[in-house]
């Protein structure tokens, strides 16, 4: 089957400071948020990108939808290259990719009514002629909200309600791919399930592929078919969720999995404790970026980034001294 989304050797850089002063001081004129990254998503699949702050996962998501420029590499959607296209050429593609943002309240235009917010995708894509009361009510119904919400304004919504409006808007044009940036961040545990069940249901009903970006491993375990672990702009391990959780090979994946406090006071914490903080992108460690914090680092780790090794079905990782 042809991949729905294909990302190849993607690099995203952000310019920093002035290029002129960089010439004199030798300081980097850019930081690399995403480095030589490749992955693909099949139609109807749920794919999770897991990483902590500084991993580059949000930059990656924004690069995919064309919100930030891509330095090198290609992104293909449904067989068509979409990286480095003009805004105009990108427009039809945007109908097929819906995006849900991390802060639900902030992603809704504060001075527009919910009706206008939900009408936006239609208006942008030339369907401004529709009856938005009807369309809006239908979209709200899909996410379990009553039609009366159409006349409300974003500041009148609770966090959970705003989140659902965000989902409704992303689904308005029946996209093939939904990108969800931290869909459960800040949500109470008792209603996290609602959001995840909703996403699952949408997938089952409409065959949408979902790219979930999160740092919450528990969510990933229940919702994703495949998972990729990111560290400082690179994928360090990728595979089917069950495989990666059962047998993490990269030391960072193992640490991340063990850094998950279990809600059981008698649980034994055989923890792979890593010290220190994520290094700044201004001072990228050479070789494998994780080596300064890795208790299992060996000599090659500080010299060269490891090549990807594979085990089993579609399970790859980049580690000189794997578990």
């Amino acid at each position: 089957m042809n991949a729905l989304l294909e990302v190849e050797d993607l690099t995203i850089r952000f310019p920093v400071g002035s290029r002129v002063s960089a010439m004199f001081t030798g300081a980097p004129a850019y930081i690399e948020a995403v480095s030589d990254l490749s992955f693909s998503i099949q139609p109807g699949e749920t794919y999770a990108l897991v990483g902590e702050s500084g991993s580059g996962k949000t930059s990656l998501a924004r690069g995919i939808v064309g919100l930030i420029p891509v330095y090198s590499g290609t992104i293909s959607f449904d067989g068509q290259r979409i990286s480095r296209l003009t805004e105009k050429a990108l427009l039809p593609v945007r109908r097929d990719i819906g995006m849900i943002f991390q802060d639900p309240g902030a992603s809704l235009s504060p001075r527009l009514s919910i009706r206008s917010i939900l009408a936006e995708p239609f208006r942008v894509h030339g369907r401004g002629d529709l009856d938005f009361d009807e369309e809006g009510a239908r979209l709200l119904d899909d996410v379990g909200l009553p039609a009366s919400f159409l006349s409300r304004y974003p500041h009148q919504l609770s966090g959970g309600q705003a989140r659902r409006i965000g989902v409704a808007r992303a689904l308005a044009l029946q996209p093939k791919l939904l990108i969800a940036d931290e869909p459960t961040a800040g949500l109470d545990v008792s209603i996290q399930g609602e959001m995840l069940n909703l996403l699952n249901e949408l997938q089952a009903r409409r065959g949408i592929a979902i790219l979930i970006i999160t740092h919450n491993l528990n969510v990933v375990r229940h919702v994703a078919d495949k998972v990729a672990v990111m560290y400082l702009g690179r994928i360090v391990e990728e595979g089917r969720t069950a495989d990666v959780f059962a047998q993490p090979r990269h030391r960072y994946t193992a640490a991340l999995l063990s850094a998950n406090p279990v809600p059981d006071p008698d649980a034994i914490h055989a923890r792979l404790q890593i010290e220190g903080d994520v290094p700044s992108l201004f001072h990228r460690p050479p070789g494998c970026e994780f080596h300064p914090r890795c208790p299992f680092a060996v000599d090659p780790c500080s010299k060269v980034f490891p090549a990807y090794a594979s085990i089993g079905v579609a399970h790859r990782f980049a580690c000189h001294n794997p578990a």
Binding site: R62, V65, L67, E87, L90, L91, R94, R95, I97, M99, F101, Q102, D103, G105, A106, S107, L108, S109, P110, R111, L112, E120, P121, R123, V124, H125, Y153, H155, Q156, L157, S158, G159, Q161, G166, R169, A185, G186
Partner: protein, 297 residues
Amino acid sequence: MSAPLSDAVAATPTRANTGRRGGLLRLLSDPMGALGIALVVLVVLGAIFAGVLTSHNPIGMALGERFLPPGALHLLGTDQLGRDLFTRVLYGARIALTVALIATSISFIGGLILGMIAGYGPRWLDSFLLLVFDALRSFPTVMLALALVTLVGPSLSAVVLVVVLATLPGYARVVRAQTMSLKGAEFVLAARALGAPTRRILPVHIMPNLIGPLLILASMDIPVVITIEAGMSFLGLGVRPPTPSWGSILNDGFSFIRESAWPAIAGGLPIVVATLGFTFLGETLRDQFDPRLRKDA
């Protein structure tokens, strides 16, 4: 993520309190706001109904009646040419308000457009526009007035031009700053992710968030505009005599103050009243706007 309390409040049925009706009532409940509105209304009504309120001719001379003190026939007395001061003040209000309205509107719209372009557009355009704004602002208003009037001659249009050049950069800078911060806002990103082009994002998403603060800025600017007009007329750079303008009345009063104090008072008093009125109004508007915004956040 909404604060715990606001979640609880959100669970209770909300009363839509963002209506303009509510706003007007709130304005009137604040004594400063009420006073501001009263004074402004006074000035506006005076300007509109000048013809009805007095029967005197604002420019008709009556040399036999110079420097009369206030009385039944002349509420503020007469000036050095026997003209009724009260009438001249009312007609002067028309000048003041016309300039205020026209000049402020042009500055508002011009500042809005240029500020949005500067804030949202490419950096080189922003740098260029900033240069223009800062250059304009570095001119002392009086020098600007002198220079322009030398070019185009004293007239109402000259006053409007000076006011626009003096105030537009202020609006533009505020709009620019707001636009720049809104540019990175998540709801703008969401609109871009949908495919909305810049020509849609600016009016639909960014502009509505600018109008409120800008209106407040405008209402606080009007006293400044009135003062500029009066100042220019005082210096003889504004409307030409015999057209009454508060500034020229004040100037005449200043020249003839030994003969009678009333022309000076007649010229200065309306400036004070109008300035105070608009200032109070503007400050109350601003106070109403901010805490409400904070509570809603």
